[in-house]
């Protein structure tokens, strides 16, 4: 018996190895397609314009960072970047606090009609933004929010992201044992205190997941950002700013590439540091949809 299984095992083993080898080669081919545009952009960003036009394949002659300086300061990518960071941080914090409170209320405080509220939240977050933006613009301009920097953008992002975030957080809250809260209540801890000091620290992964999910949305949103900054050139976020920049430089590809790299590289870093939560955010987003 042993020789036969050994032969089969060996055959199996070699077959497995060939398959793995073929798959690896295929994956490498795909990898080139997926990563080469970025590598090409990085290489191009280190060249001067004439250098680029003489030979687009050539490696940069010397390490030229002029395009980055140009894009960052003259092209104002640095300023846009800062704006986007401010908008993202404020929105994410506000979304987190408000939707945590809402989710807590829906799970652990005896609010009536919880199911109805949840249903409404579900419905609201599938709704395409196209139904919202035009009247929202009118509304904000009537109140005078549009004259303010950042404010109209942040308010809209927060309002739109609360339903989805609250639903995800609620699912997490359900995993926190009730007894813990009841014990806290008996000890005389107030609801705000037990929420932010007892429950929230237990939910680090939930908080990270929701933050990353919202970051993805806030960092990339274009339509509302564009409309909310129609009348101003202050406080533009990166998405809008990049398009302006592209409009100014037209086909100065090395500079465009430098701008793209300035945006992409920090994103890679965030991804590598928080990989786990990115994926959790994707699946959580899936469940909610």
């Amino acid at each position: 018996m042993s020789t036969k299984t050994a032969v089969m095992k060996k055959k199996k083993w070699t077959e497995d190895r060939t398959i793995k080898l073929i798959l690896r080669l295929l994956l490498l081919c795909f990898s080139v397609i997926y990563i080469y545009p970025v590598i090409f952009a990085v290489i191009t960003s280190l060249k001067t314009l004439p250098e680029f036009y003489t030979d687009i394949w050539a490696l940069p002659k010397n390490f030229l960072y002029g395009n980055y300086i140009e894009a960052f300061f003259t092209g104002k990518i640095g300023e846009y970047f800062l704006n986007s960071v401010i908008i993202a941080v404020c929105s994410i914090l506000a979304i987190q606090v408000i939707s945590t409170m809402a989710a807590y209320a829906l799970t652990r405080l005896r609010v009536p009609h919880t199911n109805l509220i949840l249903l409404i939240l579900f419905a609201l977050q599938i709704l395409p933004t196209e139904t919202i933006i035009i009247p929202l613009y009118v509304e904000m301009s009537k109140i005078g929010f549009l004259r303010m920097q950042y404010v109209p953008i942040i308010i809209a992002y927060v309002g739109w992201s609360i339903p989805g975030s609250a639903i995800i957080l609620k699912n997490f809250f359900e995993t926190v044992p009730k007894e813990l809260l009841e014990a806290a209540r008996i000890d005389g801890s107030g609801e705000v205190k037990s929420l932010f000091l007892i429950v929230l620290p237990l939910m680090k992964s939930a908080v990270c997941t929701v933050s990353i999910m919202n970051f993805n949305f806030v960092w990339g949103e274009l339509m509302w950002a564009q409309i909310a900054t129609l009348l101003t050139d202050k406080g533009l976020p990166l998405t809008v700013g990049l398009l302006n920049f592209k409009g100014q430089i037209s086909t100065n590809w090395p500079q465009l590439c430098a701008a793209i790299c300035i945006v992409i590289l920090p994103l890679y870093l965030i991804f590598l540091l928080m990989q786990k939560y990115f994926i959790a955010g994707l699946t959580a987003g899936g469940v909610k949809g």
Partner: protein, 303 residues
């Protein structure tokens, strides 16, 4: 679970309920301000004529009549559909294919590949769009130069400027960008399959194809369904990509419904008509999502 009314609430219950409503208040105010009021207003606007200033003139269903007889607007809705369907197909096929190859790789190797394939999905659409404007540029673009270097000059095209090509190009780019996300989700689905299933299958002598066909695909079917219905939802969000890459051009060959809506409102000041476009488009998106979910649900109960 129905709550009992009135006196039957304990003192603590009532106190908690009060706090609960207080806790819900900020969310309710913000959602009301940014979503609920705008939707209601949108319906009102779509039934009237308004130039953004001055008085609202109530015109009933005129805007909708106009929309359904306006071929230019109908074409933008059709374009939206084409891009959505195209990008969904591309991203699902690529994503599933990649996930089925990656799960075979070792831990370290797999994570490098996952990073590489996920990288386009990490970028905001605007950034990915600009990158592809560069890649697809007619003369200096990477793609045409690669074709040129391989001697395939007949395959060189002005990808974003030829009327027959532009929609397809947009759909492929958008699908390509999303494929990383799909790959991640499907891969997590494959990971959730218990290892001993693979073990016993291996002992029975199954090969790679059989493993995929008989174990993985049937078991990740629910994941695929979930991912597909999410993907349909995303794929209609074409505004940022199309605006970044072609601004609806050449002419209005690649103009999608959201761009038409924004232009009607902010270029031509026809806020009523724009609202009608927004509502019709959103209704279409919701119907598509519902149809896909329905179709998938009956599929899941098949056996």
């Amino acid at each position: 679970m129905k709550k009992k009314k009135g006196k039957k609430y304990g003192k603590l219950d009532r106190k908690l309920m009060g706090i609960g409503i207080l806790f819900l208040l900020p969310a309710a105010v913000l959602i009301g301000f940014t979503t609920v009021i705008p939707i209601i207003w949108n319906i009102v606007l779509s039934l009237s004529n308004w130039n953004g200033n001055g008085a609202l003139e109530f015109t009933g269903l005129d805007n909708y009549m106009k929309l359904f007889s306006d071929t230019a607007t109908l074409k933008t809705i059709r374009n939206s559909m084409v891009v959505a369907v195209g990008s969904t197909v591309v991203s699902m096929v690529l994503g599933i294919l990649l996930a089925l190859m990656i799960y075979k790789m070792g831990k370290k190797e797999g994570s490098v590949f996952r990073f590489i394939f996920y990288n386009p999905s990490m970028m905001p659409m605007t950034v990915a769009g600009l990158l592809f404007v560069f890649v697809l540029a007619p003369d200096e673009g990477l793609l045409n130069n690669i074709f040129g270097a391989m001697g395939l000059t007949s395959l060189q095209h002005a990808w974003l400027a030829e009327p027959g090509l532009v929609l397809g190009t947009l759909a492929v780019v958008s699908g390509f960008k999303d494929s990383g996300t799909i790959m991640m989700l499907i891969y997590t689905g494959v990971l959730a399959i218990p290892e001993d299933l693979f073990e016993s299958a291996r002992l029975d002598g199954t090969n790679y194809w059989k493993e995929i066909r008989l174990i993985i695909l049937p078991l990740i079917k629910p994941t695929i369904c979930m991912v597909l219905s999410m993907n349909v939802m995303w794929s209609f969000k074409t505004y940022d990509m199309v605006w970044t890459m072609t601004q609806g051009g050449p002419g209005s060959m690649s103009k999608t419904a959201p761009i038409a809506m924004i232009q009607q409102a902010f270029t031509y000041n026809k806020f009523g008509y724009a609202s009608a476009i927004g509502l019709v488009f959103s209704a279409l998106v919701l119907v598509c999502i519902a149809l896909v979910r329905r179709a998938l649900r009956s599929e899941a109960y098949e056996y």
